[in-house]
Subunit: 396 residues, 4 copies
């Protein structure tokens, strides 16, 4: 990559994962003229706004294991990325692999990670953050990038308690890290490094990140936007689109049972019940919020079905009561590529975060709500109302 | 508004049909304390508004054939209306049958109608309207009703051309009727009679009614609201809720195929392709409007499946393209009682029409858009935006 | 065979459950002329055989809690049994309640059972069996029945280990019971009592019953048929019908994921993972047996969804590979009343068991395989091959 | 049987179509070691029989338009054939294109066909057959093939009347062709040519072919097997697997509604109602035959949805009644590649036809029933019983 002085870095934690791999190839496809399907910021009502152009976005990143070529080949073979685009991007992947920095693994994953990542696990949290900051500065220097966004796309992590002090909006994360345990959520390490380097932080996973008051407070004070949590790409998206129908027609939802199946790395991680818990909570809570009906029986299941690879397939069954007690049902089957759905949103969110930063909007960004299962700083889960918030923000 | 203690008439064309029968029993159920599930005007954000109370609404009406007891028993047997409520309302049905006036049949249905209705077919259009007006005045007198709403719930009629003059907002329907052919849409006869009697007119069918400029103009001049067309109760409702998702996520809908099955009188009427045409058009056009995508392949089928009775079952298949050309799909199966879905909307619309009349809003009422497949005077089909229009109207 | 004019008892463990309640009303319906839909022994190829007529079958039974009237009313309200039939059978239910004997509860259920059942829990296993035998003799005496069948329809029990000696086909259950622990599967108590009284024993649940060698051996020696295990009524039935398609077309099943939802007492019991285990095993194992494909990923889930009551709703997703690796899928949604599906099979199985006894066929009855998820003494799970076995048995 | 070392020709009418293209690539894949998924004759119970090896089968054929390279590329792009296999077979396709003979188009298609095919349309039927025979002899000579099979894979043709004399099993097709009209079904021309040349004839389409008595009689007298009609690959296959479940459980099917969507050349042809009729009849009649229930409401729809290409997607809704009138439903969605499902059956049927010929079995071959929607000479539509017939034939 020849230095682009006006360019912007997408610094991705989990850069060899399926979503990041699709982002890498997608940006190249967009440069080559692929229509920007799935990219909200390129669609009619928003396309004219001064977003960062695709050509100006350069991916670098961290990972704890894996290989970008292998990821790309699997996505090609399973029809997520066109196979000719996979071939076309071989050199680009080589360059990203060369510039790749070791990620900070979860302690429980130590056996499965690269030596470099294992070494980083030795670092105390404060030192780990400094290493991440040095990575960011290094990429900027090496590629001549003027600015960047940190995007957290790591595998779903276990739910961990929050150490004392972090729930205080006036707490200083860098100071708190001095005495933090090693089991701290990785999203806080990447988030703190991002904000300290003046980079907007986007948490596309269910990890806490910007939901932690100290991190959000630091970001607000620094004028750096922090966005999250947990990208809303598939079944949950449909849920937050459909649930308002029942509310607005005064229909009484008796049960909403959702069964998700997927077979990618994310699916494998989610077969660990400790990792699954946060995700299920995010997928489930949206219903109670929209329906305002505490009596509805709801259930969210996630099963690992290897043959599906990246192709999330979900079935939802909604049992509801209408006038005079008539029992009715709506069921839907969603079949979509998780990565093809997530990747354009990562680009959208990067553009939105950069624009917010340009406009001086630090801290939580409620306008990004329609992109997240658990939007921080927002209680509204109705997708249409979230889109209204986003439209108003764009129009400002 | 202070609702008149002597009550309001719901004058229904098609009063022995499944929807009207459900309205009759539903009002009685509401009086007896059945929770108002499915009734928008009784749900939290709207319940406090001064709507006409259920206890003040009294059903009278016209029909060309059938029997209200038989309709009720079939709806009881097929689990649309609780069987004890069917029993409870036997006397009420007797009273409605006693007061029932003959409807004006379509010429092609003459063989299948009651003698009274056959006699009305002899009347010239202008005379037929006078007969309908006399019915309205008669019911008011007999039941001591101060006012009323006319609701058009007749079986789907064939598409017919519009005679000259009717597309002029300044045309006078009563004068135009003097020279109108007998094949005129029945919705214009009932609509003209309603407006002439100062009754709001609600067209719950795909017939033209308020979409005809002369009728809408007469209503506006008279300060009488006219609402329509074609109640949005099931599959089309879901369509207008889901389609915005694809638009707002910039996903490219390639095909949207909808298959509807139903087995009630409406289903039987719709097995006639000439009657089906208007309904299919209404169900189909919403997609192009919301998606703004002329290239999407769309299809709407309606099949008569007798064993389903009132339980409309529909399957929609949505084939769409995402980022980098990935092909995905969403399919849903809707299973609901058409009458249980429509009946509360008929009550809602009556209340809305009465309130509009109280507020002096004559002519087309765009705020009623979320209730119709083909809302007259409104180009917006996105259900959520229609609900926003309705909410703003309520808040005024 | 000449059916005894004085009738045959159906002695049901779990006589107040939904299935037994449906049997009670169904027999009455059949006597009154309801067409025998769902009754295999009344369908064309089998109807001419000398089965016990419905009029000769009289239900008696045991239960640990509940009330037959309440069960019937719930099944009426949820449209499993026609409401007029529920009314019609009030006296019949009174008689059954009057003759009802206390069942033997599982120790862990003691808090939720009737006092009579609690008292029976005090009995040692051998004494409990004697009490059951006395019940059978008492019913025969009281109703003048010449013979009977014991049908085990109790709620799903926890999986329990089998005490020493029971896996020996020459073991004597009555002797083994002398030293058996109180945690013994109730199916062995009812099974031993049935065989000791010369009554065929039908185990419609996943409990071990006839799969235990000592019980099967005793039955063989006594010339008493024992049938089981676990009635095949819904999703598993469809599985064993569809799986042969993939085998016979040489299609490679990659994954078969089944999600079951139900809301009746069985559903509630199955929310206990210890009780669910045996059922899931039975539902799952059929696939490996038919497909002969150890690599297919399979999953069976059962969730308790109260609003569904007796209406089991299941979704199965089958991911398979065809020629040149093409990935395809078949998904189905099953929506059926568990009790309406099970009840006629209970009658069928009673007739089959009686006929086997008449023909002198004691012990396991492989010909009953198509009726069970886990047919004892049979390795074939392909429904069509099982039906061939049954047809040949009938033709003998 | 000792397979001829110099090989066997698969002479395909419609050799540039999607199914034939998949056969071409599939045979090459099998030679290269691709596992024979979907190939019945290669699956465990049949694999040991002396079938013609894949390496001995060589494709030649006729077509009226199109291009084999374009067909292959589209099937590669739409994930039916692996893209590397498409690349690998470029030379093979060149050879087939070089040896290709013009097909005999339907008169109504004249505008859309190649000049060579247009020229053949000038030939009288008898002369056309001689041209086809000369093609077969030419391919044999050119490739040194000892024998061959003719497979009819042309686009669905319009239903046409049968001229006098053809319904006589003693009629001589070659003589009847002398006075036949030009609108004769093309399947009779290819069938007569095949039999006259001693090649078994397989009709994979709904055209009449072997169902015509004169053709079947000629084949029987000549000792040449003729197989058909209409390959059973997807939704109809599932129907004939599932329908026996309802019959065998004495469940009363009220309605069976099937909706098929596809987007390939076959789908385009089927948008012509005159072409669709025969196919729908074949898909529909299986139900009445299996269920023996003339009262069930059945419907089969086929819609052309271009974006699906070869990926047939079908939804079937089965409404049925169980014990005491309980209303239940089963619905399924089938999503499979038509060509990937059909191609291995074409190879299977060729092997079966050759083996029948070796065994001296001329005329109709009832044992091939499980492969056809409308098996000639067989009234049985139950897939499992058809497989039993096939297994017995194999074991002979």
């Amino acid at each position: 990559m020849s230095p682009d002085p006006r360019g912007t870095g997408l610094f991705i934690a989990g850069v060899r994962g399926a979503v990041a791999t699709t982002v890498v190839h997608g940006l190249e496809g967009l440069r080559a003229g692929t229509p920007p399907v799935g990219l909200v910021t390129a669609s009619p009502p928003f396309a004219h706004l001064p977003w960062e152009p695709a050509a100006g976005l350069h991916v670098c990143g961290w990972d704890v294991a894996g290989n970008l070529h292998r990821s790309a080949e699997e996505l090609g073979r399973t029809h997520v990325i066109p196979e000719d685009l996979v071939e076309l991007c071989a050199e680009l992947r080589d360059r990203i692999e060369l510039g790749l920095a070791p990620g900070i693994p979860d302690p429980e994953d130590v056996a499965a990670v690269d030596p470099g990542a294992r070494a980083r696990l030795e670092l105390a949290p404060r030192a780990a953050v400094e290493a991440l900051r040095e990575d960011i500065r290094g990429w900027k220097r090496a590629l001549g990038l003027q600015r960047g966004v940190v995007i957290y796309l790591a595998s779903v992590e276990r739910q961990r308690g929050l150490p004392a002090g972090w729930d205080d909006a006036n707490g200083d994360p860098l100071a708190l890290l001095e005495r933090a345990p090693r089991e701290l959520s990785r999203s806080l390490l990447y988030g703190a490094a991002a904000v300290a380097e003046g980079c907007p932080f986007i948490n596309f996973t269910p990890a806490p990140g910007p939901a932690v008051a100290a991190l959000a407070g630091m970001a607000r004070r620094a004028g750096v936007p922090v966005l999250g949590n947990d990208g809303k790409t598939g079944e949950t998206l449909v849920k937050t689109v459909l649930a308002p129908l029942f509310r607005d027609r005064a229909l009484n939802v008796l049960a909403w049972e959702g069964y998700n199946m997927l077979g990618n790395r994310d699916g494998a991680a989610l077969s660990d019940p400790e990792r699954r818990a946060a995700k299920i909570q995010n997928k489930d809570r949206v219903l109670a919020s929209i329906l305002g009906n505490a009596r509805a029986h709801t259930h969210v299941g996630i099963d690992f079905v290897p043959s599906l690879h990246d192709w999330k397939t979900a079935w939802d069954f909604i049992h509801f009561e209408g006038f005079l007690g008539a029992r009715m049902s709506l069921q839907f089957t969603w079949h979509g590529s998780d990565s093809a759905l997530a990747a354009p949103l990562v680009i959208d969110l990067s553009r939105i975060a950069l624009r917010a930063q340009d406009r001086g909007e630090g801290g939580l960004l409620p306008a990004a709500a329609p992109f997240f299962k658990n939007p921080v700083g927002v209680t509204e889960h109705d997708f249409h109302r979230q889109m209204d918030m986003f439209r108003r923000w764009c129009a400002r």
